[in-house]
């Protein structure tokens, strides 16, 4: 075991795959000699050289499109979109081309690529550099979407993403870059579509991803200490494919479900989870299904405003406490 930051785990995860497979290449803005604007790719250029780690101009369509063309023809490219908000710039490539080509060609063409992106809020960057866009991505058939919450999962999910024969989007959370965690020695692979139970509990299930996982876990600790509420916290890790059975099994035990989502309210990823549980877990339920989200607003930049807009530990605790209380 080694303790790594989430930031260092990104480079470690990429390096693990580049060491293993010479067809793995990395492109993006400032990913080479500069090591990335968030220093996520530091050291890779020196280690793997300019043929495998290439800087690009500020051309999101070209970055993502080139990755697609390379993936169609024998490489396993990893392309970085500096901020996940920039998916909007490259959306034709992502939603129309990468996602649909395998289906439209009836399997003639595979697109085994990884798009990595700095996702999420907490850095006071304002509405165009802070969004959580997993829900945009999971709405498009043909894209796999992962959102690691720990350094170990960054490495393990990166490995699965690169090895996957289909396009995978890895949403790396900006607010987690400085966080630390143990990463197993040797090759570390976390299969896509396997949720992790972060904390076991019996009174309610709280489902979260990325930066919301630690908040949900802290909320669960407080609920246990202050209210005697035993909350189970599930980190989905991967939205597509989705570990639906893990959610359903947990709700079968707890009978109550909360989601904690950084995305704005409408059509957030939790809406799909709630829908699934309403459909398939209804007879296990003892209480309404509750989504805890950012309000349906663009994210403000001021610290006081951004902090209050996102689901906080206080809001999670208050919501769980209140909704469980009213269901008694």
């Amino acid at each position: 075991m080694a303790e790594l930051t989430y930031r260092a785990a990104v480079a470690a995860g990429i390096a693990q795959e580049m060491d293993r497979d010479p067809t793995v290449v990395l492109i993006g803005e400032d990913v080479g000699a500069a090591g990335g604007v968030f220093k996520l790719t530091e050291g890779l250029f020196d280690r793997f050289g300019p043929d495998r780690v290439r800087d690009t101009p500020i051309s999101e369509q070209a970055i993502v499109g080139a990755a697609m063309g390379a993936a169609m023809t024998g490489l396993r490219p990893i392309a970085e979109l500096m901020f996940s908000d920039f998916f909007a710039v490259a959306w034709d490539m992502v939603a129309n081309q990468i996602a649909k080509t395998r289906y439209m060609t009836d399997g003639q063409v595979s697109v085994p690529l990884v798009l990595r992106t700095a996702n999420g809020a907490g850095l006071r960057f304002g509405a165009q550099h802070s969004q959580s866009v997993e829900n945009w991505l999971m709405a498009i058939p043909g894209l796999k979407v992962v959102a690691p919450s720990t350094p170990a999962d960054v490495v393990g999910l990166m490995a699965s993403a690169v090895r996957d024969p289909d396009p995978v989007i890895v949403c790396e959370h900006k607010a987690l870059f400085a966080t630390k965690g143990e990463v197993p020695d040797g090759e570390h692979v976390v299969p896509l579509g396997t949720a992790a139970t972060v904390r076991e509990g019996t009174d309610c299930t709280i489902v979260a991803i990325a930066a919301m996982v630690s908040r949900a876990a802290e909320a669960a600790d407080r609920l246990a200490a202050d209210d005697g509420i035993s909350a189970e916290v599930i980190d989905l890790r991967s939205l597509v494919p989705l570990d639906a059975q893990a959610i359903l099994a947990s709700v079968a035990k707890t009978s109550r479900l909360f989601t904690v989502e950084e995305n704005p309210r409408l059509c957030g990823w939790g809406a799909e989870i709630v829908s699934l549980v309403a459909d398939e877990g209804f007879y296990s339920l003892d209480a309404p299904l509750v989504r805890i989200t950012t309000p349906h607003v663009p994210l403000p930049s001021a610290a006081a405003l951004e902090d209050a807009a996102l689901p906080t530990v206080d809001r999670i605790v208050d919501t769980v406490r209140r909704r469980l209380d009213e269901a008694k």
Partner: protein
């Protein structure tokens, strides 16, 4: 107009060029008739009048070179060797379709012929072709990607992003603008700041402006040989503007009446197939040989049409297949 004078290509090559152009013309002419018969569904964008570009380039390409085309892509698929039966099947929405009925006319792909797709969002495939070229460069495979697109594409951002990055990376890719004078229903000249929508942009990316008579298959072939050679030799991308004309409208719904009658008639007089036939006869090719090529094309089209007519509709069982590489569309356990 061409920067080079037409080559005196050898006879086999020239008969081959004629064969491909005639096959494309017969295939598409019949496709249009079948559209009006209700057999071809959706929309379809014909390249009638533009066959010389597809034929001239395909003849210069190595079997493993990549083709990227647009929704006006039937000619390019046929020129790379895609069989007509599955192509009609795809247009008809039948089970024998090239993509099993999942793609349609605008997404014709035949990976086994290195026809890597027809792209229906204008400009999207220029970066993708660049990526295939980058892959070939990285793998040192010697392959070249050839990317065909229309004049309208030269005003979309992806065109410029791809040209710049291809030039920076010296990627083995040839970008071929088929300037058929009209983006959709509007003359390209009316909405473009420069006279040559592709060639006049070349210098912005450090590339030579290359303009060729896109209705002269010999001239196109010569430019193709030169630009493919340059790409394969490690000297980077080229941008070719082939001046041509679509005989019909933008898509099957468009009669193309916005075009002056004398303009249409002058371009019809420069039909790439009839003018090429006259040139071949003038250099001594037996008219009977050319007649036979035409008869063979007609027969192939008829056989392909029959095969597609006889093919069943696709089974609904395939709707939820081939989203993922494991063949499924499963998104959850």
């Amino acid at each position: 107009m061409a920067t080079t004078k037409p080559a005196l290509a050898d006879l086999d090559l020239r008969l081959g060029l004629y064969r491909v152009m005639v096959a494309c013309r017969r295939f598409e002419t019949r496709a249009q008739e079948l559209f009006f018969e209700g057999l071809v569904r959706g929309t379809t964008h014909l390249g009638i009048g533009q066959e010389a570009v597809a034929a001239g380039f395909a003849a210069a390409m190595r079997a493993d070179d990549y083709t990227f085309a647009t929704y006006r892509g039937h000619n390019h698929a046929l020129a790379r060797g895609t069989p007509m039966g599955p192509l009609y099947g795809e247009l008809f929405g039948r089970a024998n379709g090239l993509m099993g009925g999942k793609g349609g006319s605008m997404h014709i792909t035949s990976a086994e012929h290195h026809m890597m797709g027809s792209y229906a969002i204008v400009g999207a495939h220029l970066p993708i072709a660049l990526g295939a070229a980058w892959s070939a460069q990285y793998r040192k495979s010697g392959q070249v990607a050839v990317c065909f697109f229309g004049d309208g594409t030269t005003n979309i951002g992806a065109f410029h992003e791809a040209l710049n990055l291809a030039a920076v990376w010296k990627a083995p890719v040839v970008f071929v603008c088929e300037n058929n004078q009209y983006m959709e229903y509007t003359a390209i000249a009316a909405v473009t700041a420069v006279a040559r929508p592709a060639a006049d942009r070349a210098s912005a990316y450090g590339l030579e402006p290359i303009v060729v008579d896109g209705n002269d298959v010999d001239a196109v072939h010569e430019v193709a040989v030169a630009t493919l050679g340059r790409a394969r030799g490690g000297d980077g991308p080229s941008l070719v503007e082939a001046i041509t004309y679509r005989h019909g409208g933008h898509s099957r719904a468009d009669p193309g009446t916005y075009r002056p009658a004398d303009e249409v008639s002058s371009w019809l007089a420069r039909d790439p197939i009839t003018t090429y036939r006259a040139r071949l006869e003038a250099v001594g090719v037996d008219a009977a040989d050319l007649d036979r090529i035409e008869a063979e094309a007609t027969a192939k089209v008829a056989a392909a049409e029959a095969a597609a007519r006889e093919a069943p509709e696709p089974s609904p069982d395939v709707i939820e297949t081939e989203v993922w590489a494991d063949g499924s569309s499963r998104w959850r356990n």
